[in-house]
């Protein structure tokens, strides 16, 4: 214990005693005031250390923000740049986090905007489609072309019954704009200035007419637009409407305005220029952006289909007609080009008809006949043909037959530039043809080595030697005589041609006779019948233009047996002679 310095010693001096007392006091003070001493030390440290500790600030910061924020907007103004910078830095540093954070907000908003745009586009498209083919639609198309506006816009304007294009929420006393909404297609002017002017106009009108405060301007018209104003106690709604709105629309405006007044009562009462709180009125104002189009009548759709069908049918018919006409025209040209002796140089199709020009051999087929056969009215086809000689073998042969007047027993063919005559012909014709053949256009040479020539006297002799025998009592030409008569007919035709060329005529007499048996009257009838039968077999009147056929009978007194046989009297004989200008030429 003696080693304890704080304990007084019996042999110590007075100073030491005082020191001991001090120590005791100190010890006592420590025991009694230790907690307070600690607090005092802390306060001293805080006073000595003027720097504000973050921990202290963190305790009061939220409360400080709240207090200052209630007083004025200074806090917002001060913090705004830092918040903006912080946001920009955050976006740069971690854009993904920002996207994730705002996606729940932006997603629905973007979807809503796209949906509205699509809806508007589809509405415009449907309206345009409905009206695109109607008569009214055509008129509007002309209007669109004339005014330079899109067709869809013209259709919308005409079918529009009414459309609320803009809605203003305006503070009644100041005329300041609280909020504004507009349709996508609306061109919005300066809505703040417009709000002021709308308010000024109302006050001007009211003052000008000495109206009281509760008498207000409810609506006015400007061109296609109507402005409806619905008054509230602190704010009013002004709606810009295109078209003719129904009276019920005003009820919707009234309801929206009442809702806004109910929800924004404090903000409206204390409004001092800050319109930010009124952004929440967007949904109420958008409910006023109504639009109503004329419903197209059902009958018009039916009419549209009928009209469309008729137009389609008419168009199809027209196209078919055009196609068929074109095909007939092409076929006609092909036929004309294929026709010998016709050369088409110009073939034109015009609105008024058709035009043809070309060359035509006089012996070629008449083109107007081909035109008629093709189904064209000859008045619609103007044709000009110049004459020429065609060198087609067919036409050259025809031309040769026409010029040379060949008998029907002669066949003329063209081989290259050579005319070939075959068959049989009178000697005179053969001689004349040999002289004239090369004068026929297209013929340079003539050959007739296969032509059999006979003279008129020879022909007369051949005919006059003909006797047709009959059975007793019969006037029927027997089979064996028919072949001989057919040869005689050819000779008669040859004689006919030769006589015609020489300007003479042939008088052919067929004389029938009978034997002496039986009564004379019967025999005369039989003789007549036999002459007629031979005439029929020879071809009657068709033997030739220059031939006259007569029948006769040989009277009984003149009958004489040819060979002393009665069978020789059952005959019909042919007698031909040439007659010229009343002068008879006897057979040789």
């Amino acid at each position: 214990m003696s080693s304890d310095p704080r304990r007084p010693r019996s042999d110590s001096s007075s100073s030491e005693g005082r020191a001991s007392v001090e120590e005791d006091w100190t010890q006592l003070r420590t025991l009694l005031l230790a907690p307070e001493q600690t607090q005092l030390d802390e306060l001293r440290d805080r006073l000595d250390n003027r720097e504000i500790q973050p921990r202290d600030v963190s305790r009061v910061l939220p409360e400080a923000f709240a207090i200052r924020g209630e007083r004025d907007q200074e806090m917002s103004s001060v913090l705004a740049p830092y918040v903006e910078n912080g946001f920009v830095a955050a976006v740069r540093k971690s854009p993904r986090a920002i996207v994730d954070a705002i996606a729940p907000i932006m997603g629905p908003a973007i979807r809503q905007a796209i949906a509205r745009a699509l809806q508007s586009m589809m509405q415009s498209f449907n309206q345009s489609l409905d009206e695109s083919l109607s008569l009214r639609g055509l008129r509007w198309r002309v209007e669109a072309w004339r005014t330079g506006r899109p067709f869809a816009e013209v259709v919308l304007l005409h079918t529009l019954r009414y459309r609320v294009e803009q809605v203003f929420l305006i503070h009644r006393e100041t005329g300041l704009l609280l909020h504004h909404v507009a349709t996508d297609a609306t061109v919005v002017q300066d809505q703040h200035v417009l709000s002021g002017m709308l308010t000024a106009i109302q006050q001007y009108v009211r003052d000008s007419f000495g109206a009281s405060q509760d008498q207000t301007l409810d609506q006015f018209h400007v061109g296609d637009w109507t402005v409806w104003i619905e008054q509230g106690s602190h704010a009013y709604v002004a709606a810009v409407i295109r078209g003719t709105p129904p009276a019920s629309l005003r009820e919707d405006f009234r309801a929206a305005l009442d809702d806004i007044h109910a929800q924004q009562a404090d903000a409206l009462t204390t409004f001092a220029g800050d319109a930010a709180p009124f952004k929440t009125t967007q949904i109420h104002l958008e409910s006023c952006l109504q639009v109503h189009y004329e419903a197209p009548p059902r009958s018009s759709a039916l009419k549209l289909w009928i009209l469309g069908g008729a137009v389609l049918l008419a168009l199809s018919w027209w196209l078919l007609t055009v196609y068929q006409t074109h095909a007939r025209w092409s076929n006609l040209l092909d036929e004309l080009r294929a026709e010998p002796g016709i050369i088409v140089t110009v073939a034109e199709s015009t609105w008024g008809g058709y035009h043809l020009e070309g060359l035509r051999d006089p012996l070629a087929k008449d083109p107007s006949v081909l035109v008629s056969e093709a189904g064209f009215d000859s008045s619609t086809v103007k044709a000009t043909w110049s004459s020429y000689y065609a060198l087609d073998s067919l036409l050259v042969a025809t031309r040769a037959r026409s010029i040379l007047q060949s008998p029907s027993t002669v066949k003329l063919t063209v081989e290259g530039d050579t005319l070939v005559a075959t068959g049989s012909a009178p000697t005179e014709w053969a001689r004349e043809t040999k002289r004239l053949a090369t004068f026929v256009p297209g013929i340079s040479h003539y050959r007739d080595e296969s032509l059999v020539t006979t003279s008129i006297p020879d022909l007369l002799t051949q005919i006059n030697q003909t006797v047709v025998h009959f059975s007793p009592g019969s006037s029927t030409v027997e089979q064996g005589e028919l072949t001989a008569l057919s040869s005689v007919a050819a000779v008669v035709r040859q004689l006919d041609q030769a006589a015609f060329q020489s300007g003479q005529r042939v008088a052919l007499e067929i004389r029938g006779s009978a034997d002496e048996t039986g009564p004379e009257s019967i025999n005369m009838q039989l003789s007549k019948a036999r002459a007629d039968a031979v005439r029929t077999v020879l071809g009657g009147e068709r033997l030739g233009e220059a031939t006259t056929i007569t029948t006769d009978i040989v009277p009984g007194a003149k009958r004489r047996p040819l060979n002393g046989n009665s069978a020789d009297r059952r005959v019909a004989s042919l007698h031909a002679r040439l007659v010229q200008e009343g002068k008879e030429i006897s057979p040789p």
Binding site: H171, T174, L176, A200, Q203, A272, G273, A275
Partner: protein, 171 residues
């Protein structure tokens, strides 16, 4: 953004519309156009950290034939009194208009400008008269819409006063 309705007040042909046009579009025209009723314009200004949209109601000039209607003044957060330095009578009109405004909308901020400083030698409003106005507590600027003098300052001063003024409850 904060919006403030501001009325342009003054006598006939003192240059209210010219001041507004110079302020809003920075254009001045020598051709005089009488304002019929009200023309509303707007322009944004920045006061400190605040952006303020001034919605300017350019009222027709008051003369012996027509008085400015109280209804146009209602709701104004401030107003500008415009005088023509070359016509002493416009000062009296301004004083009358200030009294009307104070009576109608209360003690809201206002500033005054004596226009047409570009023809200062022709002024009828002299320095003592200006001093008297200042003694009444009027902020008085001298400016010219034609030269653009004092125009920006005029609107900036009023905007500053309106921002710092306590918000009074409406009627």
């Amino acid at each position: 953004m904060m919006q403030k309705k501001v009325c342009m007040l003054g006598g006939f042909a003192v240059g209210k519309t010219s001041l507004v046009r110079r302020f809003v579009t920075n254009v001045f025209s020598d051709h005089y156009h009488t304002t019929i009723g009200v023309t509303v314009e707007k322009k944004s200004v920045t006061v400190g950290a605040h952006d303020v949209m001034l919605v300017l109601w350019d009222l027709y000039g008051e003369d012996e034939f027509q008085r400015v209607r109280d209804s146009y003044l209602r709701g104004s957060s401030g107003y500008i009194l415009v005088m023509d330095g070359t016509r002493r009578a416009t000062l009296d009109t301004a004083i009358s208009l200030q009294e009307t405004a104070a009576r109608t909308i209360g003690a809201v901020p206002f500033v005054s400008i004596i226009n047409k400083a570009d023809v200062r030698p022709e002024w009828e409003i002299d320095e003592p008269a200006v001093e008297q106005l200042r003694e009444r507590g009027w902020p008085v600027l001298l400016g010219s819409a034609k030269l653009g003098q004092g125009v920006e300052e005029l609107f900036a001063l009023l905007a500053t006063q309106m921002i710092s003024a306590p918000v009074l409850p409406g009627d």
